[in-house]
């Protein structure tokens, strides 16, 4: 058993890496728990550290479907769980006008699965072949009422539709929730979940990610990029660049044929890293020389 767990964790790390996601052992261990304990995983961290990617990589590794629910303010049952297909229902009513189908039968048909539009959460419950990965993205954006509803779903994995009855999951989905921590989630929801705090990657991990995602990059340039971005994250910025920004920047540098990062290069490409006028201004006026001075020569 001990061997098995260790082997499966190692397998997970490798499998995720094949999906282009660099996971350290801590994350792989937590994902192993997600697979064995069948508990949802709540990943928190700043924007752009790769929270959402975890779900995609996991789905890819398990070779299963990924179902994504993007949360936003005002998200309700109709967009998250199911909705009746009103136009079709109305059409059916019209068509039946001349027929002698009894009223009860009409109603039964009108509220059958034919007229049901499954939204992400219902889809995740209905999956037939194998357990899907259900990604509930940016749960902190949804209203608290929705959070409460979700809690119910995550404990029972069933959805009741008043007109139709209760639909139970055939395969319990692997659930990944992400949050940017714009608000505190309810204790109840947090208790249901395994928790993982995803930080900005350290230099070694970031280098690994760049190499994985951009195999063509020259080693020297990759090192410079990582060093520069790592130092930049230590500055007082409105928005700290995440991994996506690092990759964008590296791609831009490759496209421009840059071999060495200098002031002119940064001036032209800083928009890949920093997305606000204040941050760009700050970089130009205060930090650029310092940051460049730290680059490996």
């Amino acid at each position: 058993m001990s061997k098995e767990a260790a082997a499966r964790i190692a397998g997970l790390m490798e499998g995720l890496e094949q999906q282009g996601y660099v996971a350290d052992e801590a994350l792989a261990t937590v994902l192993y728990l997600v697979l064995t304990l069948r508990r949802p995983l709540l990943v928190e961290g700043d924007a752009g550290v790769g929270k959402t990617e975890i779900a995609y990589a996991l789905a890819g590794h398990l070779d299963t479907e990924l179902i994504r629910l993007q949360c936003y303010e005002g998200l309700d049952v109709h967009s998250a769980v199911y909705e009746w297909n009103y136009p079709r229902q109305l059409l059916a009513l019209k068509l039946w006008e001349q027929s002698d189908v009894p009223l009860e039968e009409r109603e039964r048909q009108l509220f059958s699965e034919t007229y049901l539009l499954a939204r992400p959460l219902l889809k995740a419950i209905q999956a037939r072949e194998q357990a899907p990965v259900l990604l509930i993205d940016e749960i902190d954006r949804a209203d608290e009422e929705f959070e409460a509803f979700l809690l119910e779903l995550l404990s029972a994995f069933q959805i009741s539709i008043p007109e139709l009855g209760t639909i139970r999951a055939r395969h319990i989905p692997y659930v990944v929730l992400t949050s940017n921590r714009t608000r505190e989630l309810s204790d109840a929801l947090k208790r249901r979940c395994l928790y993982y705090w995803l930080d900005y990657p350290d230099a070694a991990k970031e280098l690994q990610i760049i190499r994985k995602r951009l195999p063509d990059i020259e080693t020297d340039l990759a090192h410079q990029v990582v060093r520069f971005v790592q130092a930049l994250r230590q500055q007082r910025l409105h928005k700290i660049p995440g991994i996506a920004e690092t990759l964008d920047w590296a791609r831009a540098l490759i496209a421009l044929g840059v071999r060495r990062i200098d002031e002119a290069v940064v001036a032209r490409t800083a928009g890949c890293l920093l997305k606000s006028a204040e941050d760009l201004e700050h970089l130009r006026n205060h930090q650029l020389e310092d940051l460049l001075a730290h680059l490996p020569t």
Partner: protein, 386 residues
């Protein structure tokens, strides 16, 4: 991580170990973690799956199971070491944190907000105790923030949190079923009209709450105002979800933006960050100049027809009243509503005679007290209908 790949204490029997895991869960619970039966059972499952043959893995697994915030994750490592490896960074068993609320570190006197955060500084007068009222909650709602008896402080904050939370829930119901309104609720309409052969005779509607307003709060932290500002900050923190955006500033002789600090999801985190931020402070207030600074630096970005501007100050301005009037006029022209909160309004027989207040009055939409919980809660009416 100091303890990765270190030796493991030996357990002679399985029961020993089960007990130890349970003990660890109880240990964490004692340190303010939410660990219930379900968590303990899962921890035991993890332990039995023999992840524990590698301490670092066992640590990671338990951390995922038992923590629920970055702050807890940080504390977890030390507690894990203390329990399983019998040591801490300084070699002592960590003291059990008595309260869960973060205590900001001691700092110099130049940060007025800190004085309230630390509470110990000025011993409050006993006047507050004389308030009449049947129950403690009732009494606490009436008590002036600046005169809270020391023993009540904690209770008052708990009560404030609870009441603000209720207020937020009230404000947050955005859409509701209705008899009249703009959007037709097709689902309910069809259901209702099925017995009429599908002809849509009776319509059902949904009503949407108006768009959420933006809020700009400017808080006076000079002199005695910081106590009131402190509670207003708690109020705003609790209500952040109600607004599309909350931007907060503190001022005395200079203006400081604290928007980012207030955005921390938990209040203790916000207050801790706030305590670490140096706030400009010297005697006197220059409201007019500070408002002008606000206009010049942030006005374009933050003011719109959907912005509520909330100013908390006693209006005892040492600057030029004409400047204050000018600034308020300019702000008023570009925002939805200016609400001025004056804690002195709680005093019997208060009249806005101060020169600053006199100059400001013509430009205010709402002039409201903010000296106790009740007065803050009554603000709801002004925040709701925008």
């Amino acid at each position: 991580m100091p303890a990765s790949r270190t030796t493991w204490p030996t357990f002679t029997t399985a029961t020993d170990f089960t007990g130890a895991v349970r003990g660890f869960c109880a240990f964490l619970k004692g340190h303010g973690f939410t660990v219930g039966l379900a968590e303990t059972l899962d921890a035991l499952r993890v332990a039995r799956s023999e992840l524990l043959h590698r301490p670092d893995r066992f640590r990671v697994a338990l951390r995922a199971l038992l923590c629920s915030s970055p702050a807890q994750c940080q504390r977890f490592d030390a507690l894990f070491d203390a329990y399983w490896l019998g040591r801490t960074a300084d070699g002592n068993v960590p003291p059990a944190p008595a309260r869960r609320r973060a205590r900001p570190p001691a700092t110099e006197r130049t940060m007025p907000l800190l004085m309230t955060l630390q509470r110990a500084t000025t011993p409050p007068e006993e006047e507050g105790q004389t308030t009449t009222g049947a129950s403690t909650a009732h009494r606490l709602r009436q008590v002036d923030f600046a005169r809270v008896p020391a023993p009540d402080q904690e209770q008052l904050e708990t009560l404030a949190e609870q009441l603000f939370r209720q207020l937020r829930v009230r404000l947050s119901r955005r859409e509701k079923a209705a008899w009249r309104g703009r959007r037709i609720d097709l689902r309910r309409t069809i259901r209702r009209n099925l017995d009429r052969g599908g002809e849509l005779i009776t319509l059902r509607y949904r009503q949407r709450r108006p768009d959420r307003p933006r809020l700009v709060a400017l808080l006076d932290v000079s002199g005695s105002m910081d106590r009131y500002s402190y509670f207003l900050l708690r109020f705003l923190h609790a209500l952040q979800q109600h607004f599309q955006r909350v931007d907060s500033f503190v001022f005395s002789t200079e203006l400081t933006c604290i928007t980012e600090l207030l955005r921390q999801p938990t209040l203790p985190e916000s207050l801790r960050r706030l305590a670490e931020t140096p706030t400009p402070w010297s005697s006197g207030t220059r409201i007019g100049a500070c408002l002008m600074t606000f206009l010049e630096q942030y006005g374009r970005r933050l003011l719109s027809r959907r912005t509520l501007v909330l100013i908390l100050s006693d209006g005892l301005d040492t600057g030029d009243p004409a400047l204050l009037a000018h600034a308020l006029q300019a702000i008023r022209a570009r925002c939805r509503r200016i609400i001025w909160l004056n804690p002195l309004m709680g005093m019997d027989g208060y009249a806005p005679l101060a020169r600053g207040m006199q100059a400001a009055l013509p430009y205010l939409d709402v002039f409201h007290p903010a000296h106790n919980l009740d007065s803050l809660l009554r603000l709801e009416q002004h925040l709701r209908h925008v």
